[in-house]
Amino acid sequence: MLLLVPLAIPVLGAGLILCFRNPRVATRVALLLGALEIGALGAVVWQVHARGELRQGLYLRADGLSSFFLMGIAFISGLVLVYASGYLRHMGEGRFSSPRWFYALVFLFLFTMISVCLSANLGFLWIMMEGTTLASALLVGFYNTEGALEAGWKYLVVCTVGIAFALFGTIVLYLAAVKAGMSPAAALDWVSLMDAAPRIGLDPHLVKLAFVFVIVGYGTKVGFVPMHSWLPDAHAEAPTPISALLSAVLLNCAMYAVMRYDAIVSRAVGPAFSHTLLLIFGVTSMVVAGLLILVQQNLKRLMAYSSIEHMGIIAIGLGLGGPLGLFGALLHAFNHSVAKSLLFFGAGNVRHHVHTLRIDGIRGISRSMPQTSAALLVGGLAIVGLPPFSLFISEFAILSEAFAQARYLVVILFLVVLSVVFGGFAFHFFRMLCGEPDRDAENSRLIPSEYIAMGIAGSCLLFFGARIPYLFGLLLREAMAVLQ
């Protein structure tokens, strides 16, 4: 019963918000619903921690891994809602571009992502994953500009095709399960598949074929490199709170789906095949995105490529396996969400005050927008993996695992790309922060919503870099246990 609550709140809330035409009332209702949702998700996480697993009907289930990702969703969506409440004051009034439509679509989007994390059935997972694409397409094209429409169209088409391939992979896995003797109803259920995996793995060809299609399909949503073409456009042209949601939450949900399939396939045919594929995609994404960071001219596109790079790092962590690799991957998923949200919040502020996102058009913001530039600096240092911040811990864990497994090529590429990215970020940020500003420090004080959102994010990065809180560590361990 409890599992239905965090699903019902966003759906009903979306309908509720549409009833309020006044933007301020809609915003307040949205914040209230957001708080309720976070509470519901917290209750689910607490129950899973107490009991180990929650089930509801055939299609919903929450275990350690789900609750870890749900916690991440709750945290980031809270920050985004708080930030958006202030950001939308700049939004114009259009027939479909008013704040109430914005919040309604955001809640629908959240509904689909939470369903992905709560699904027990692979078919349901697919349906909800396609739902995330559909729910966010209108959000990406929210501003009706040429760039936004192009980005939205590309996003919709590329992701739908990718997910169609993931459907094919799901079907092939279902076929393998049915051939191994499972009943049709159980052949799509994750727990039953995990139990019967060794039996299914007796015919490895179908299982391997299934995983190839799944990693290509869901990998399109994650942003792995040959299939990443939609990502920079979508993340750059969407409104800033949506960019944060896409980068920080949606990519994680897609990675969650890949993790579920990886668990089944590893148990069926052994970890070598799936982990090799994950390593290949991860290293390629990291290297290509890291190199492309150097030539970026748009601030949000720069951050989008950074997201691709970090998803590559998470994939490397998953592909390496082992306790440290898994620990690093899961922790990195969370840390990256927080850091990327902080960066996008800062970028949103920059856009409102300087009215451009081109890096060569932004100068001297350390003087014209001191608080925002401090946030950007913190975010930038965190995202390249420098020590006092939490990403250093997760990247160090993954690197240690690579050393332990004597995969020296991975280590070298990892370190080289990290250095290159550090150089790139330093170069771009130096150009933006220093120099003579075009505008004075007018109206650049942060309003409370922005303060709260960016402050929480920044302090979380610092805090987690120092030590991981006890409860968080417990949840992390439970998540790892599911995958081992």
Partner: protein, 220 residues
């Protein structure tokens, strides 16, 4: 029921022929309305195959799926496409980036590739070669249409052909997944098409054309 039985058997053994014909005709079609009509015929052939499978395997759920396919893909979606082309007042040409001869040769190559793929994987499943090869050729054709046709509506149609192929592959090998999942998949596809329709309207309003190859502002 002897006649129905015979008809079912004939449908199951020869429907792939008609799918190959629609694939070849899709490769050479030059107007959007022709392509939509071909898609509708293709879906009708697939409906026949679904109903024949349901009759032979005596699965009630598959009957429902067959009716859904007919209602959605043979009737609703083509009508929506025709309405869309009328409302958008777009030029009717398909704007292919390959000549008809090249397209047909590529279609032939894809059919050959799908047969080759079925030969290597076909031992794993006991299904007739033709049917599975038809499904895989549909997938490849859908992808080819999306890549080589530069109109937004043709990209939507290519996506639909791709989904047709995946659906057919699922049906042939596993006689359909659980009914609820199938309905969910249909619903998703419908929503996806609805959204794409909305986007084409907006693109047509903003850009004054529907040529996606000209949507190249964002690069790098």
């Amino acid at each position: 029921m002897g006649l129905v039985g015979i008809a079912t058997e004939k449908i199951l053994s020869s429907f792939s022929v008609f799918l190959f014909l629609t694939i070849l005709l899709l490769a050479v079609a030059r107007r959007i309305s022709t392509c939509v009509l071909l898609f509708s015929l293709q879906s009708a052939v697939i409906t026949a195959e679904v109903l024949a499978t349901a009759f032979q395997e005596k699965l009630v759920g598959v009957y429902v799926v067959g009716l859904l396919v007919f209602a959605i893909k043979v009737v609703a979606i083509p009508r929506a496409f025709f309405l869309l082309t009328k409302r958008l007042k777009t030029v009717r040409d398909v704007k292919a980036s390959t000549t008809p001869t090249q397209s047909v040769f590529i279609a032939v190559a894809m059919i050959y590739l799908s047969y080759a793929a079925v030969h290597s994987y076909g031992q794993a499943v006991q299904v007739p070669d033709d049917a599975l090869a038809a499904a895989i050729s549909l997938i490849l054709t859908g992808a080819f249409l999306m890549v080589s046709r530069k109109k937004a509506l043709m990209q939507m149609l290519g996506l639909l052909v791709l989904e047709n192929g995946i659906f057919l592959a699922a049906l042939i090998t596993t006689f359909g997944m659980p009914l609820v999942i199938e309905i969910g998949i249909f619903f998703d596809i419908l929503m996806g098409l609805l959204l794409m329709g909305i986007f084409t309207f907006r693109i047509s309003d903003t850009f004054e054309h529907l040529d996606v190859s000209k949507l190249r502002r964002l690069r790098g």
